[in-house]
């Protein structure tokens, strides 16, 4: 589904070259819920932005369904972006539009006929449990509800891949669980492949089947969650898992 080969991304910041990602190789299969875990600054957000076609790789390729996405531009790029839905930690909803209009937005810009939009939005409202909130504005919603709107919006045009950038970091544990349940439901019922960027091992444990651990701009370990988390081969992975049990025990 998503095949990342030798992805390197560097930025020029005031004359200095900063390497955000170095020779990253990841394979995400159709139907996976793939966790990408790493500390802040490890490069995982840049990775998500590259997969989501918001950044161009400096070198290396990203294949989406066999199509090399690294060098497309213009109309092709705009069409390709619709294949991938993204949700963000900060939701990024249109603050001046109500829930219905927010979910309809990607359909409007894709110039879908009004009646079809109406029907599609109704489906999505039901799927995400927001039917009674359709006329509310984002400012009137809780964090969990906002993330549900963002999920509905990201799925509206029928994307095959959903990228999630720290989707639950700003949410309380109970809301986190309900959002993760929603993601799992979407994965199971719609067959949407999900990639989740997180620094939280419980997120990976609760819904991911595969995981990649990123440290210092590169993937240090990847595989099935049950393998990686039970037999970590890398110190950083172990550190993540020990933090899960309460980091202070280590000392």
């Amino acid at each position: 589904m998503i095949n990342i080969r030798n992805l390197t991304k560097t930025f020029e910041v005031s004359g200095q070259t900063i390497t955000a990602l170095e020779r990253v190789n990841i394979v995400v299969d159709q139907g996976d819920i793939f966790g990408i875990i790493g500390m802040s600054g490890a490069g995982k957000s840049t990775l998500l932005r590259c997969i989501g076609l918001l950044e161009k790789p400096t070198s290396g390729e990203i294949y989406l369904d066999g199509v090399n996405t690294s060098h497309v531009s213009g109309k092709e790029l705009i069409a390709l972006r619709k294949e991938i839905g993204i949700i963000f930690q900060g939701y990024h909803l249109l603050m001046q539009k109500n829930v219905r209009r927010n979910i309809a937005f990607p359909l409007e810009i894709a110039k879908i006929p009004r009646l079809q939009i109406q029907r599609r939005v109704d489906e999505l409202l039901e799927l995400t449990g927001l039917t009674d909130k359709e006329n509310a504005y984002p400012a009137q919603l809780s964090g969990g509800q906002k993330q549900r709107v963002a999920i509905a919006r990201a799925l509206a045009v029928g994307s095959k891949v959903l990228l999630c950038d720290e989707p639950t970091s700003a949410l309380d544990p109970l809301t986190t669980r309900s959002i993760l349940q929603l993601l799992r439901k979407i994965n199971k019922t719609l067959g949407v492949t999900i990639v989740i960027i997180t620094h939280d091992t419980t997120v990976v444990r609760s819904i991911c089947n595969k995981v990649a651990v990123i440290d210092n701009s590169t993937v240090i370990e990847q595989g099935f969650v049950k393998d990686v988390f039970t037999r970590p081969e890398h110190a950083v992975t172990e550190q993540f898992l020990s933090l899960e049990l309460g980091g202070e025990w280590d000392e």
Binding site: L53, L54, I78, R81, F88, H92, Q96, F105, I109
Partner: protein, 234 residues
Amino acid sequence: MNDLVSLLWTGTLETLYMTFFSTLFAYIVGLPLGVVLVITARDGIRPMPALNAVIGWIVNVGRSIPFVILMVAIIPFTRAIVGTVVGNTAAIVPLVVAAAPFVARLVESSLKEVDRGIVEASISMGATNFQIIWKVLLAEAIPSLIRGLSIATITILSYTAMAGAVGADGLGKLAISYGRNRWQTDVLVSTVILLIVLVQVIQTILNLIARAVDKNSSGGESFKLLKRLTRFGK
């Protein structure tokens, strides 16, 4: 007394005529300029640093010339456009030239208030630049744009009084010709009061509308009625 009332009434209408059309044309010029300033900026959706710098420079030059001087300096331009340099319609030309750069900056700052993340989210949904400008930047900035409109209108209103010094009519002309040249204090005081009232009315109405259309703040109970009356933002 009746003479005074009709004098002031005509003056007010002339002032409003100049203010309205100058504001309208200033936005026709300034709004696109403001949009271009935002999208061509380094962090904009279509970075074009050279064009951005040129427009920014023109806007700054336009803003730094005092209005009284600008009015005189562009007399040939005004004559070329309206055929005369005297009267209310002629005054609109320098008013627009002076106000458009100001409007461009107001629009720019309103659009820059729109969260960068919202723009990024719409890019990820496959929005074209035109759709982002129209449906995201401008649509999300509407309350802020209306507050800017309030500032622009009031500034232009005060400029019309200055235009009264060089051939335009309106309350400014009344204050100068009756109040100053003939020492008719009643006219002078009346024009001042009228200008204060006009400013208050414009500001109150536009701020109420801005608050009524703004879905990003609670707005308060008192605006519910206005919301229902205006049905904005639907």
